[in-house]
Structures are given as C-alpha cells and as structure tokens.
C-alpha cells in the first residue's frame, strides 16, 4: 500500500489536473458558442449559393454547362484528398474520426488503382496521416495563426486548389471534415468539391420559377463566375463546421475528464482515509500491547 505522503501528493496532482480540464471545458464552451454562431451565420449564403447553382447547372438550363469545374475534366484517375482537422489536440475522437474516414477512403482509392494526393488542413491530421501516406502528401495549410476563420482564408485555400486543378494535377477533389450536429455528436463527412456536385433533390420545385428568369450577362458567364465562389463557400462551410465540432468535441472530452478526475479524487481520498485509519489503529495496538506488557 502506498504511504500517506504519496497518496496526498497524488490527490493534489489529480486535483490540479481537474482544475485544468475544468478551465479548458469552460473555454471550449465559450468558444463553441462563437463558432456555432459563425457557422449558423454562414449558412444562408451557402444555402442560397447551392440553390442558385442548382438552378443554373440543372438539367433544363440552357447553358451548355461545359465548365470543367462543373462536369470534371472527363477523367477520375487522380484524386485530391483534403483532410481538415484541428491545430490542437485534447478534443476526444474529433481528429481521429476524420482521419479514420479519410484513411478508409484513401485505401479504397489506392486499391482501385487511382492516384491519391493529400492536402492537410490543421496540424493534427498531418501528424496522423504522415506515417502511412507520407509520400502522397503534397501540401499543408497551417491554421495556428488564424484566430477567427474568415472567408478570405477559405478563399486562399480554394485558390490553391483551383490552381492545382488548372494545372491538371488532379481530377477529383474530396474534402473531409466533421459536421457539427450537437455538442455530443459530430459526424465525419466526405464531400466532393470538384467537379461540383449538383444535387437534384429540390430541383423540381424551382423549375417553374426558373424558366422566367432573365440572365445577365448570360448563364454561361454567371456560372463561370459562381463556380469558384461555390467551391470557396464549401470549403468555408467545412472549416466553420469543423471549428464548431472541434470546440464541441473538446468540451465534452474535457467534461468527461473533469468527471473522471472527480471520481479518481474520491477513490484516492477513501484510500487515503483508510490508510490513515490503519496507521492510527496500528499505533493504538502498539501502545495498548506495550501497556499490557508492563
């Protein structure tokens, strides 16, 4: 049995750990609110953008829609995998769940004989992917200096990606990130960036309305103008969702840690009390038996 002093030191150390995790939890909670707000405020733009694109790129539109960004460059041999993770750890399974999803996709692509290049956003993802796919990693975006995610930051990333696409370095781009559902649930998601995926779900509703629009200058030109923006918006949304997810994951991880620390303190305190009692009893026995011997 550890002696009293050791136990006391351990209890103190767990207590200070609890203080730290508690503080981290509170910080994460405050940041989460901000991140969530940012993600929510960005939603109207993203929704409108998708809607407009669907109208323009929908099957009935008059544009010939031959932009490579929209329909791809006809090949699907080389893939660019963009893995968005966080800069900091201590946020539960947040990073590993994205990396796991990305890894399974990459392995699948490699098995089908496709070329894979990896672009990582955030330090944690790079660290985890480096060991297995170090050779395929072509670029890394450092977010550590960025306090608040802005559209401009997303624009820089998307510009970099578009430049690579223009140089025909890849055919298809997929981004991996965590979709923020709630504080306790973040769902890793894969979304195709290039070619831009139009979803045809709510297409029928817009059809009647769409026919009456006059386009200025013309649909083709508008689409060329909008596509890069749509891609930037997608990256921006992914990064914002990721930001909110990171804080949410950290908050619940730290909440768990704080609770565990509390339990540990209770257990150690009981052990400490027992040992102390045992020591006292021992001493008493010694004194009594000493007295009896007299």
């Amino acid at each position: 049995m550890p002696n009293l002093k050791d136990l006391k030191i351990r209890i103190e150390s767990v207590k200070s750990t609890r203080k730290i995790t508690k503080a981290m939890q509170m910080v994460a909670a405050a940041k989460l609110r901000k991140a969530q707000e940012a993600a929510e405020e960005a939603r109207p733009y993203a929704n409108r953008m998708t809607k407009v694109l669907n109208k323009l790129a929908g099957p009935s539109s008059h544009s010939s829609a031959d932009s490579p960004l929209l329909i791809g460059n006809g090949k699907s041999e080389k893939y660019l995998v963009i893995v968005a993770t966080s800069e900091r750890g201590l946020c539960g399974a947040f990073n590993s769940s994205i990396v796991r999803l990305a890894k399974s996709h990459i392995t699948d692509l490699l098995a089908r004989g496709k070329g894979v290049e990896i672009l990582t956003i955030g330090k944690k993802g790079r660290e985890q992917l480096k060991r297995e796919f170090g050779d395929s990693m072509i670029d890394h975006v450092d977010l550590s200096t960025i306090k608040k995610m802005t559209y401009e930051e997303a624009a820089l990333i998307s510009e970099n990606i578009l430049e690579k696409f223009a140089k025909k370095e890849f055919d298809v781009a997929i981004v991996f990130y965590n979709q923020f559902e709630s504080v306790i649930s973040q769902v890793p998601k894969a979304q195709q960036l290039i070619p831009v995926e139009g979803n045809t779900e709510d297409y029928t509703n817009d059809m009647a309305e769409e026919l009456s629009y006059v386009y200025e200058p013309d649909e083709q030109e508008i689409i060329e103008d909008l596509l890069p923006k749509a891609i930037t918006t997608k990256i921006f949304t992914a990064l914002l969702e990721n930001g909110a997810s990171e804080q949410g994951a950290r908050m619940s991880a730290m909440d768990n840690a704080t609770r565990n620390a509390g339990e540990m303190i209770d257990k150690l305190t009981i052990q400490f009390n027992r040992s102390r009692q045992a020591a006292i009893t021992n001493e008493l026995i010694e004194i009594i038996s000493g007295a009896e011997a007299l």
């Binding site: 940012a38 733009y45 407009v52 629009y213 006059v214 200025e216 508008i222």
Partner: protein, 131 residues
C-alpha cells in the same frame, strides 16, 4: 404604402447584413447599374465591383461590393456578395488588396474565367482611381 416596398437581403459568407423591407436598391450589375423597385421582373445577374445603394424611407446606405450575384424576383431581392464594406470605410488599401488578389487568381484561371476576372480587374482599377 406596403406594395411599393419589397424584401431585400444582403448576404455575405460571414453573415446576413441586411434583411428587411426597403424602398429601392441600386445594384452595380455587370451590364450596368440598375435601380430596382418593387415588382421588378425576374432577373439574375452577376455583380461587378462597385457601390450598392439601399434606400429606405428617405435614408440611404451605401456599401461597397467586391462582386457577387443577385437574384431578383417579384417578391424579393437576394444579393449574394463575397465581401461588403460600408461605403464610408472603403479605402485605397482595401481596393489595392482586392486588385492584387484578382491578379493572382487571373494567373491560373481557366479560359472562360479569365474574361470575367479581367473585367473585374478593370472595374477595381477605375474605382481605385476615383478614390
């Protein structure tokens, strides 16, 4: 005079800047400025860098837009702007930065985008000169 007003939304990637009923709005469309009143026919146009003027009950607000897209229907006008700055806060530095950015993306743009971008560059330069 409720029927003379219409719903206008100015949406940027970061937040919804304006959302509410207004009297009229002047939009810098790629094919020229246009002022929209209520009951305008359906129109969708790209936006060139320029000034947006929102008029409501005698007051007017001016925003600088770096580009975007506007969708006009009978009941509402929705403007998607990449970046909107209050007219009073526009400075030569902001425009210069935009010019630099546009030049950079022009370098690797695909053919069709090139013409859009070079138009944009022209507009930006003329705005900069005016300041």
């Amino acid at each position: 005079m409720a029927e003379d007003r219409f719903n206008f939304e100015l949406v940027t990637p970061e937040k919804v800047l304006i959302s509410g009923e207004i009297d009229s709005v002047c939009i810098p469309g790629v094919e020229g400025d246009m002022t929209i009143f209520a009951n305008h026919s359906a129109l969708a146009t790209a936006i060139r860098p320029g000034y947006l003027e929102v008029k409501d009950s005698g007051k007017s607000e001016i925003y600088f837009l770096a580009g975007g897209f506007v969708e006009i229907s009978q009941k509402e006008v929705i403007l998607l702007a990449e970046k909107a700055t209050l007219g009073s806060e526009v400075s030569v530095e902001i425009i210069a930065e935009l010019i630099e950015k546009t030049e950079r993306s022009l370098k690797h743009a695909l053919d069709l985008q090139k013409c859009v971008l070079s138009k944009k560059l022209n507009d930006l330069t003329s705005i900069k000169d005016q300041l």
